[in-house]
């Protein structure tokens, strides 16, 4: 049952040229830019969090190839149904940097994505959104839309009943949905070996009569091509698939976690050698004339983009209390209206 690991770009930055396929230099540079942008955004958020200027953050460091590689093959009318460690994928599809700072900074207005983006809001409970992806795909099938839906979740999600239910439903109804699992090896303190007795996560697909594949999740070429292949198949042939991206959570679970309590630092040093950005940089250097000048110029641009997003996030007025009430129903019922009045009167009277 063990699926072999699909890899195109190895840890030393060597790639199987033929397997790079139709990816142009422009595409590859776009990937590299987005991966760096995601890491810079992430590092800045961690630093803001330490200064008390950001809420609890789930770091995506180490998973940039998985994030960018899964989002780039999607077409505009396709759907991305993420968990919460997917903001690199969101940026790739056009979510703004400052909106994500707002969201992680505790301002819910940051979760309102532009109407033209088919991205569902972050799902914090584990695995529940796989069923939402299934429903979106089911509706697409009923309506005859030629689209596909990609859900992303972590290795912890495979233990949930909803994981089984979603894959089962997708198999039964032959839906255009691809389930991507970012196997970053950890669900807070629980290693993936304790989530399941199977050797791989991809092999679980067999139980649902859908295809399962296992990919080096730190290899952006392999992630891109595998997701593209199964996304196209889902869109054209209504075939579902399970894609396991083998990556690593380099940071703590969130800023509220301390991973030194349950994992040895040596393992991080091992995975640093497999860093997704470093290996792409090596490839670009040897094959596309990338150099330190270009690197510095790009990093300066990306840093400015991130700093501008921070400014935008920090300059926005805090949300009005009304926003707590206004979206619960399409029209506020009497009890919510009364409670909103209560808040307003309290504030008006100088209450804190």
């Amino acid at each position: 049952m063990k699926s072999k690991l699909i890899q195109i770009l190895d840890e030393k930055g060597n790639a199987v040229e033929k397997a790079i396929g139709d990816l142009t230099e422009k595409d590859i540079l776009k990937m590299y830019r987005l991966m760096n942008l995601t890491r810079l955004w992430n590092n800045k958020a961690l630093s803001l969090q330490r200064q008390g200027r950001m809420g609890t953050l789930a770091s995506v460091r180490g998973q940039e190839a998985s994030n960018i590689g899964m989002a780039m093959p999607l077409q505009e009318s396709d759907w991305l149904v993420p968990a919460f460690r997917e903001y690199g994928a969101m940026f790739t599809r056009g979510v703004s940097l400052s909106d994500q700072y707002m969201y992680w900074g505790g301002d819910e207005r940051g979760a309102r994505f532009p109407d033209n983006l088919n991205i569902t809001p972050a799902c914090i409970t584990i695995g529940a959104h796989l069923l939402h992806a299934v429903g979106i795909a089911h509706a697409a099938k009923i309506k005859g839309e030629k689209i596909m839906v990609l859900s992303s979740s972590g290795d912890g999600s495979i233990s949930q009943g909803d994981f089984h239910e979603a894959l089962n439903w997708a198999g039964v109804f032959k839906l255009p949905v691809v389930f991507v699992i970012q196997n970053n090896h950890w669900a807070i303190s629980m290693p993936v070996e304790k989530q399941t007795a199977t050797e791989t996560l991809a092999e679980k697909a067999a139980a649902y009569a859908i295809e399962g594949v296992r990919v080096d999740g730190n290899d952006v070429f392999a992630v891109y091509h595998t997701v593209k292949k199964y996304a196209d198949r889902a869109r054209n042939e209504h075939k579902s698939a399970l894609i396991e991206l083998v990556t690593y959570r380099m940071g703590d679970h969130t800023t509220a976690d301390d991973a030194t309590r349950y994992r040895k630092p040596e393992i991080i040093r091992e995975w640093e050698k497999k860093d997704p950005i470093e290996r792409l940089k090596k490839f670009l250097t040897t094959k596309h004339g990338w150099n330190e000048d270009k690197e510095q110029k790009m990093m300066a641009e990306l840093t400015e983009q991130v700093e501008n997003a921070v400014k935008e996030y920090e300059n926005v007025d805090p949300p009005e209390p009304e926003t707590m009430f206004q979206y619960m129903y399409s029209e506020m019922p009497w009890n919510l209206k009364a409670q909103l009045e209560e808040v307003k009167e309290f504030v008006k009277a100088g209450g804190k």
Binding site: E108, A111, R112, F113, G135, D162, W169, M328, S330, W334
Partner: protein, 325 residues
């Protein structure tokens, strides 16, 4: 117009809405070829096809979770949960996602969907087939909770529920499915959500109930009427958002209130009504607000079912005690 049962009224509402609006789909266990275990969805698959009338795997979380995705992608799902006692396997999807998606997406994704399920005791059923846990849904902001008590309302409320942009938990008193027939208008019509109905106006005491308890309070009101007590009988019809104005105005007039539900008493719908009316109408009240409810226990199986179930005799006693206070 013809005299029809509640189950027939529900079936008719589904037929008419599916016919009128192609985005309405029905999904659930045994809803297609079998027409639903109570036959609520009978004839739909023959008329509208397997794409829109979907026999699903036996998985409540999926039924609700997939409905969420369908609603996000432009359909209006009407999900059936076979019995209320089974909804808890999909409860996370309802409480954590259906109720919150509109807020979570800051208004981008409406959850225009209905989750229908038979609730309540009185049919001598197995465990998990007699639940009345509507308060759990009513406690969850983001949901509307509708409970009809007769065929005419069942049809009109279900049509309103399907058309409502917000998610509606539609609880059907299974004991009343075939108990009585009412003259049912043939056309597609709407009964407003959030509006109670004063079934009988009276000046001495207000008696409030919903769903399967409504015929019981009507019977009790008739009984005390013969003794000279003029009861105002209110069918709440929606418990979230409940029609506080109608109940409050009634209590202003009568000064007395009895609330009846078969659900357990503590932290129930009756507690919420009593607290609100206490806050608003303290000086109108001539007696303590009284509740006639199921006890705070697991719904008993057949042999003791009637002991737990409120009946008109229990309601009459509560009315007497309130009048004599």
């Amino acid at each position: 117009m013809a005299r029809k049962t509640m189950i027939k009224a529900i079936n008719e509402a589904l037929h008419q809405k599916m016919n009128e609006d192609k985005t309405v789909v029905v999904l659930g266990e045994d809803v297609a070829i079998d027409g639903g275990v109570f036959r609520a969805t009978e004839g739909l698959v023959e008329k509208f096809g397997e794409d829109r009338v979907i026999d699903t795997p036996l998985a409540e979380s999926s039924i609700i979770g997939a409905s969420i995705g369908m609603a996000m992608n432009g359909l209006k799902p009407v999900a059936e949960i076979q019995f209320m006692g089974f909804v808890f396997q999909g409860f996370d999807q309802i409480v954590d996602h259906v109720a919150r998606m509109r807020h979570r997406s800051q208004g981008k994704y409406n959850m225009q969907m209905v989750v229908r399920m038979p609730y309540g005791a009185g049919v001598r059923a197995l465990e998990h087939h007699s639940e009345s846990t509507e308060a759990l849904f009513a406690h969850t902001s983001g949901l509307k909770v509708v409970i009809p008590s007769n065929p005419v309302d069942a049809k009109g409320l279900l049509i309103s529920a399907i058309e409502d942009p917000d998610p509606v938990i539609f609880l059907e008193p299974k004991r009343l499915y075939r108990l009585t027939k009412k003259e049912l208008p043939d056309e597609l019509y709407r009964t407003p959500i959030g509006k109670a109905e004063i079934i009988k106006s009276g000046k001495d005491i207000t008696v409030v109930a919903y769903g399967a308890m409504v015929p019981i309070i009507e019977e009790a009101a008739e009984h005390v009427g013969k003794e000279g007590v003029d009861a105002e009988v209110i069918d709440l019809r929606t418990i979230s958002p409940w029609d506080m104005e109608t109940v409050s105005r009634s209590v202003e007039k009568t000064g007395r209130l009895v609330i009846v539900h078969e659900a357990a008493r503590s932290f129930g719908v009756g507690a919420e009504i009593a607290a609100t009316i206490g806050e608003r109408n303290l000086l109108h009240l001539l007696a303590p607000i009284s509740r006639v409810t199921g006890y705070d226990i697991v719904p008993p199986l057949a042999k003791l079912e009637n002991v737990n179930y409120p009946n008109s005799e229990k309601v009459v006693r509560a009315i007497h005690q309130t009048m004599e206070f």
